[in-house]
């Protein structure tokens, strides 16, 4: 070793393990630098996918998985990210806004006799905060012209057409830019995106409100609110597309603390409805410029809105186009049933059909009672005429119990797993998960053991999970009830509440365990990749007669590591009782890198399962002396309801 350069060179020729050791042992974590880079990561995600967490820019907890979206909306979303940085998220603003009842009065007044001289900032705020309340049906056409140094789609022109029917709880939209046309339909907890150029119809749970399209361009409740009054003013009046508008100028400098940055917008607000009829916005930040112009070219409300595309008509559109029904995005997004029969339902009579697989209830669906939640899919595969108890009995004594192995084919297995929730009213299960990583050849390192007890109650729409705190990787306990998660952690004796859950959180969590998705291949992968798995036998696991299937995938996304799953599926209930997963070394593609196991060691269903009482979780918190992490988490009285 002659000099410093030798040290420099030697360190730089370190292999992966050494680098890993250095990173672990000598972290160079600097909070400010990490914060700055993370903000850039969020922007990059927004640019790449059109997906962003509103809470990331607002600080408001908001669980959602927005889709890897169509290109026009990707552009829109990245703009909204910028706009959102200025004024915070819609959710935050709505929390901060004044009492809605008093504002409604202001809106009602406007729609009749509002004079220009009476229009002030408070009036505009009330108007914009309530603009989606000013109509039941909306038809709008608008164009968006955008240039953005940060985007691959510079100088893009997009055209949008929107039909929003709040009465019947559906939305249809068409968006066209220079490269692609997309049709989007939201109804009964599902979102469908048809891309004719690609011949596909993507289906997923609708995780955003029906008005989300409107909120991107035609609603500025997020920007014009009481918290931003010093940043904007009413500068005049104009008419856009036949609507009388107040012209608002918004300016904010240095909104990005990291660099010189300015945001300005001229917004034309319809003084009757609060809808944005035109907006010209500019954002510049150290040489990165973004210019955005949105103009409404046609807009009609309620009875004048005209005929809309009904759910059955959209289904016919999909069938006539012979589009392939597929899932949106990648494994990052939840998978849903591809069955489009929910579109057959007459308007105004939707039930929570989506609950068949995901419980994605929205609007009208939320009003349906639990007894109405048997979907078309369930009805076909588990025909029942009596009570839920009878349903279980029938399911458990039905032919599958004596099905010969030769008669159990892939479709049979898929139906079985797809509908395994249909016979469950109540569930109690003990689960063991282990994961062994092979750090070096033949050196086994058990990294992870997880023992948990889960409970589910369909009627209460409740899911509860207790984990064994003696495990090294104890991950806390939690209950999902009334749209909230209460999570408690014994390592610090704290608990907190997460609100604003996306629909379907209860059944999503249940699916993790009864479909073996927690450690394993998802049902949708089984559906989409039939060539990668097959039935290999039949075996009794923990007293359950199980079909054994083996799934092999040599192309596991970016990881590209071969993986093999062996699933043991109870042929009475369709519940995945056990799963073994083996990852192989990425480089060599033959050595085992890790083995994970998942097993339901005890399972009780329906009348056999102990009752799930949310109040018990509250008692658990009180008895263990858990403390709320913040003020918002103090009140857990809803667990008594």
């Amino acid at each position: 070793m002659k000099n410093e350069k030798d040290i420099f060179d030697m360190l730089h020729s370190a292999d992966d393990n050494t680098i890993e050791n250095i990173a672990e042992e000598f972290p160079q974590y600097d909070k400010n630098e990490a914060d700055r880079i993370y903000r850039e990561v969020e922007k990059r995600i927004a640019m790449k996918t059109g997906d962003f967490h509103e809470d990331a820019v607002s600080g408001v907890e908001h669980i959602k998985n927005r889709p890897v979206w169509i290109r026009p909306l990707a552009l829109a979303a990245s703009f909204v990210l910028i706009a959102g940085t200025v004024a915070g998220s819609i959710a935050l603003m709505k929390n901060a806004m004044p009492d809605k009842n008093t504002q409604s009065a202001a809106v009602a007044t406007t729609q009749t006799t509002m004079k220009k001289e009476d229009i002030d900032q408070d009036y505009i705020i009330a108007l914009t905060q309530n603009c989606t309340d000013s109509f039941d049906r909306l038809y709008a056409k608008y164009t968006v012209d955008r240039s953005d140094d940060l985007s691959d789609y510079d100088n893009n022109h997009s055209e949008y057409e929107l039909q929003l029917d709040k009465q019947n709880a559906f939305k249809w939209s068409k968006s066209t830019d220079r490269t692609i046309t997309c049709y989007d339909y939201q109804y009964a907890g599902r979102n469908l995106t048809v891309i004719p150029e690609e011949g596909i119809c993507n289906v997923q749970n609708a995780n955003s409100p029906l008005e989300s399209d409107l909120n991107i361009y035609l609603n500025r409740a997020d920007t014009l609110n009481s918290d931003t009054k010093d940043k904007w003013s009413i500068t005049g009046y104009d008419t856009v597309c036949g609507k009388e508008c107040a012209v608002v100028e918004y300016k904010e400098n240095h909104f990005n603390a990291e660099k010189e940055s300015n945001f300005s917008a001229e917004i034309f607000i319809d003084i009757k409805t609060g809808i944005v009829m035109k907006e010209i916005a500019d954002y510049d930040s150290e040489g990165s410029d973004c210019h955005n112009e949105c103009i409404v070219t046609e807009i009609r409300y309620d009875d004048e809105a005209g005929d809309f595309v009904t759910p059955p008509e959209f289904k016919k559109f999909i069938e006539d186009g012979n589009y392939t029904i597929d899932y949106l995005g990648n494994d990052h997004y939840e998978r849903v049933d591809k069955d489009l029969s929910f579109l057959d339902m007459p308007q105004g009579q939707q039930t929570s059909t989506a609950d068949a697989t995901s419980s994605s209830a929205v609007t009208a669906a939320e009003t349906a009672t639990e007894t109405e939640t048997v979907s078309a899919t369930e009805a076909e595969t588990v025909p029942v005429t009596g009570s839920e108890t009878e349903k279980v009995t029938e399911a458990e004594t039905a032919p599958p119990a004596t099905q010969a192995l030769a008669e159990i084919d892939q479709d049979y297995i898929l139906d079985l797993v797809s509908n395994n929730k249909s016979s469950i009213n109540r569930l109690y299960a003990k689960i063991k998960v282990t994961s062994e990583n092979y750090v070096e050849a033949e050196k086994k390192d058990i990294k992870y053991i997880d023992d948990k007890t889960i409970q589910y109650d369909k009627n209460k729409d409740c899911f509860c999970e207790y984990n064994d705190e003696t495990n090294e990787h104890y991950a806390g306990d939690m209950i999902i009830y009334k749209g909230k998660i209460v999570a408690a952690y014994k390592w610090n004796n704290n608990y907190h509440i997460i609100s604003n859950l996306a629909p379907g959180a209860v059944t999503d969590n249940l699916d993790l365990y009864i479909r073996g998705e927690y450690p394993s291949v998802t049902l949708d992968q089984l559906l989409a990749q039939k060539d990668k798995w097959s039935m290999t036998g039949r075996e009794t696991v923990n007293g359950k007669d199980c079909a054994v299937i083996e799934y092999n995938n040599n192309d596991h996304g970016l990881l590209e590591a071969p993986v093999k799953y062996i699933l043991y599926i109870d042929i009475k209930t369709g519940i995945v009782i056990k799963c073994n997963r083996t990852y192989y070394d990425n480089a060599l593609r033959k050595e085992i890198a890790s083995i994970s196991t998942f097993e339901i060691t005890e399972l009780k269903l329906n009348d056999d399962a102990p009752a799930l009482e949310p109040s018990d979780f509250k008692k658990y918190i009180v008895d263990n002396g858990f403390k709320p992490e913040n003020e918002e988490s103090k009140d857990i009285s809803f667990l008594d309801e």
Partner: protein
């Protein structure tokens, strides 16, 4: 926070989970990217690649499975930094081929035996640095691996920049003494 905790957090609250994943693996990703790009890229290039790596990681992380998070993250970071290496080399010299098999060995580009020898030597070197104790070991790693300047290291270690320089100098001297025995046969110290 371990991988399983992160996965669970992502499932419950994607934004919190993503941030937790970032905090947990920021050093790891930064180290991989830095080691690949240090000879061809600026600090901004390295940061950009770290950002791009995390964007892909957070978009593609599979929350339905447990384990192997580090392998996944390491693979993405490595692939991203190799791509960035290609891009930066093309910009600077225009000579790097897309089919260059040696890219898998970036940055050393040496043969397998030499690489193995270097790796062993690097591990031995780190062991010696480790034996120097903190904060000297931190100072040397941050200076020679992370390429931080004295002011940056001072901010991290709570020392003054002058103290960092002095300690670094002394630590380097002690390190040379430790290494002298190891390399006395191969090299003249």
């Amino acid at each position: 926070m371990n991988d399983s905790d992160i996965m669970r957090l992502i499932r419950r609250s994607p934004s919190e989970g993503h941030r937790a994943l970032f905090d947990e693996y920021y050093n790891y990703v930064y180290a991989i990217v830095l080691n690949t790009l240090r000879n061809v890229g600026t600090k901004e290039d390295i940061e950009d690649c770290v950002i791009d790596s995390f964007a892909d990681i957070l978009i593609n992380v599979d929350t339905s499975t447990e384990g192997s998070l580090k392998a996944f993250i390491g693979t993405v970071a490595k692939n991203k930094s190799i791509s960035a290496y290609r891009s930066l080399r093309r910009k600077s010299s225009g000579s790097t081929s897309f089919d260059d098999e040696e890219l898998g060995n970036i940055p050393s580009g040496e043969d397998v035996a030499a690489s193995a020898e270097n790796s062993a030597a690097a591990e031995q070197l780190i062991e010696h640095i480790r034996q120097l104790g903190k904060p000297d070991s931190d100072i040397l790693i941050h200076k020679y691996f992370y390429e931080r300047n004295s002011r940056e290291i001072a901010a991290m270690t709570g020392l003054s920049p002058a103290a960092v320089r002095i300690r670094c100098s002394r630590a380097l001297k002690r390190l040379r003494e430790k290494l002298a025995g190891d390399y006395s046969v191969k090299e003249s110290v």
